[in-house]
Subunit: 350 residues, 3 copies
Amino acid sequence: MRFSTLLLHLAQQGVLNDTAPRHLAGDPELSGAAAVDQAATGQLSFLMPGHQLSAALATCCASALLLPLDPELQQLAQERGLAWVALKDPRLGFAEALAALHPPRQWPAGIHPSAVIDPSASVGVGVHIAAHVVVGADCLVGEGCVLHAGVVLYPDVHLAEGCEVHANAVLHPGSRLARGCVVHSNAVIGSEGFGFVPTANGWRKMPQTGLVVLEEQVEVGCGTTIDRPSVGETRIGAGTKIDNLVQIGHGVVTGRGCALAAQVGIAGGARLGNGVILAGQVGVANRTTIGDRAIASSKSGLHGDIAAGEVVSGYPAIPNRLWLRCSAAFSKLPELARSVRQLKAAASDH
Amino acid sequence: MRFSTLLLHLAQQGVLNDTAPRHLAGDPELSGAAAVDQAATGQLSFLMPGHQLSAALATCCASALLLPLDPELQQLAQERGLAWVALKDPRLGFAEALAALHPPRQWPAGIHPSAVIDPSASVGVGVHIAAHVVVGADCLVGEGCVLHAGVVLYPDVHLAEGCEVHANAVLHPGSRLARGCVVHSNAVIGSEGFGFVPTANGWRKMPQTGLVVLEEQVEVGCGTTIDRPSVGETRIGAGTKIDNLVQIGHGVVTGRGCALAAQVGIAGGARLGNGVILAGQVGVANRTTIGDRAIASSKSGLHGDIAAGEVVSGYPAIPNRLWLRCSAAFSKLPELARSVRQLKAAASDH
Amino acid sequence: MRFSTLLLHLAQQGVLNDTAPRHLAGDPELSGAAAVDQAATGQLSFLMPGHQLSAALATCCASALLLPLDPELQQLAQERGLAWVALKDPRLGFAEALAALHPPRQWPAGIHPSAVIDPSASVGVGVHIAAHVVVGADCLVGEGCVLHAGVVLYPDVHLAEGCEVHANAVLHPGSRLARGCVVHSNAVIGSEGFGFVPTANGWRKMPQTGLVVLEEQVEVGCGTTIDRPSVGETRIGAGTKIDNLVQIGHGVVTGRGCALAAQVGIAGGARLGNGVILAGQVGVANRTTIGDRAIASSKSGLHGDIAAGEVVSGYPAIPNRLWLRCSAAFSKLPELARSVRQLKAAASDH
């Protein structure tokens, strides 16, 4: 694809203005893209504030670059004879460019003969159902859904239009996916929550009869598990993105646009607001409430209430700035203890 | 189901005495159940000590309630015109009520034609084997077992009667499941333990030739992995319940009735007593020994020996009460360090 | 197998010298192996420095033993009438002995009729493809590979010769496995990295168009997930062994011979040197660089740069020896705080 064709595409996607500064430099043919320190001739790359920009640009071997709105960098690119365009958000531009250079694979409509579809299931038009898929009784599979090989839908699973479920993922009864959800390989949605009542004869299982609702455009990572509750719903807000190997307990509710990194665990009944970001391996205790746009750094453990907009760290989680100071002090604890011993000795000498 | 019919069921299950206080209030027809703050007409709910009971009851819209043995609450329910019954353990009653209102799905006996069963395998009567299941050589599948879609039994797997294995779970050679075990979707039992011997040419794998034994009524969560050892057994005690994404290393032995929450990791050779409870994301180091009924709070890291009945927290784990005080002090470390600096300055002024 | 036959095997494998001290003691027939405290007649066991050797030997019921090069132990074994041989590395000898006593199951060449192989895929000689496997377009499956039941290869996956992929594992487009790799059950290789760009309309997915490269003899545990990057490669160095439920983010690169224990999480773009060892539940922040042969103890959280050969612990990770002292001091924080209060009170009395 010519660089100029790519620019047209970026404009169509709304990430590039007609007036954006640019330089075609012979309008190179682009066959792919790469990171700025790895790109070769024929490849596109991008620079973002935060990179060491001038140095990166000086040695970059890409044929074309997406630059931030920085005249100095643009001049440097010009001097190096590179094609470039300047955007407000080069990273977003790069996402659109990658989609243009590597269009996502299309999965043709049709049902593989080895798939087993219950006669009571309803399958919309344009659906792709791959080999060895199982669709249980009373399932609804909306228009344009893609079910990859080995996917199992238990009875009573509803997928709205345009959902994609990757290989060997499993959806249990009561799973309700709104439009455009993506479930990655080996994820499990709607499994029984971990609810047991202690009795004289051991643990008695609490039946888990509720629903798991994924609102529109939710994405669920590989191997992630989202449990259904005994009653009521587990609900993941629209546009929330969940990474791999995350555990979401029964009755958890998240707001819109949250981002949950890999290996996060959220215990039963926790409530997350909109736009909450949990970094890797964070744990959230049961019935914890987390306000809108709160952020927890990796490995932190949250319980109780976290206010909107707070940034927390540590276990138990405390404000991030405080935690940074406490952690620094922690690594000096032996010295601190020695100082106190010396002070005590001196005091007792008096 | 009428409320009175439900009461008969609870009595049959042994969770309700004939003499338990009750009020039928027109004997409402119940179509389901819900949490006390979400229940609507036609639904059952329950109140437990720990809820803010009177307030919850005052606004509850359920038609019927399971109450604790508290005359005040019973009178309040009476005044609101609700049907109710009082039990020693309303949560246990609610479990039985849910099972009555939502009887678990029955899976008919039979083998789906797409299943692949090795001729040397032995399959008991009343077994349900779903689509795309694989049963390897020399497997034993006991009476009434249910194997959901996509389950793979490698050769030499034994399931006693009444086991249920959910979709896409995998059982490796040497897996031995006693009666009534449940393996949830995408769990892996009997995989090779992570044993490697360092050599001049890199890691040499230690062959893992042992068994994994699940005693009666063990439940294994989605995506959980339980490894087999090089020699001997990994053994999970009767009635132990394991949540999602738990890792149990080779040669681990647990007692009866343990509860292991999501994302717990137990390294090779650890020994757990009876009734041990590990909260979410707990880690147990190899060869650690944990006494009966010990409890570890979430994210704690255990090594060495933990005495019976201890409640531990933190990493490395220390007694919970001590840990709570230490954690509180941790968040004041910067102040403490400042105080010590001031004291030192004052001392040097003398 | 006779003990003498086993010794021949060990010599062939290069773990036993002809001149190694030994005693046949009637050359017992060996039917299996066990840990030293569990072995019975007819079984082989081994002793390693670190065991309480003399005591273990005194009560050991094995018929034959692999011993370290310690004349005292050899004499004790002699006195007890056991067959024995002494090796430099009895544990390595035991690995070879187990492989001889329990030869790994052979999977015959052939393609199960229920497998679905795209006509454009290339399948080498001697390949075993089990039931319900799916091999997508343009895949290459090298000579002697074993694909167990339910494995899904998306289009454009390359397996070099002698790879083994266990049941229900999933390999995504762009996965490139060199010779002799092993992927355990339910692992997912080459899934889309967790890359999203924030926009006014929520998260915009960054297309993940790169490769995942596993070099020779890499082993990937059950349920482990290794993501592909937006551009470039995720690369796992030759001979690296990865345990269960590990998450490896997009663009991570590891050196040769690393060992990553269960539930480790490595965020995007991190770089590990050769021979790095990460214990269970360790987290590595994005773009962290870890030097050759560095070791992180369980549950530690690494970010920034870790020097070659360092042993680190804690979160944030600090040198292990320092962390041990800090952790000890942590558990005495309440006392320390009290001492400081007393010193302050005494000072203000002056």
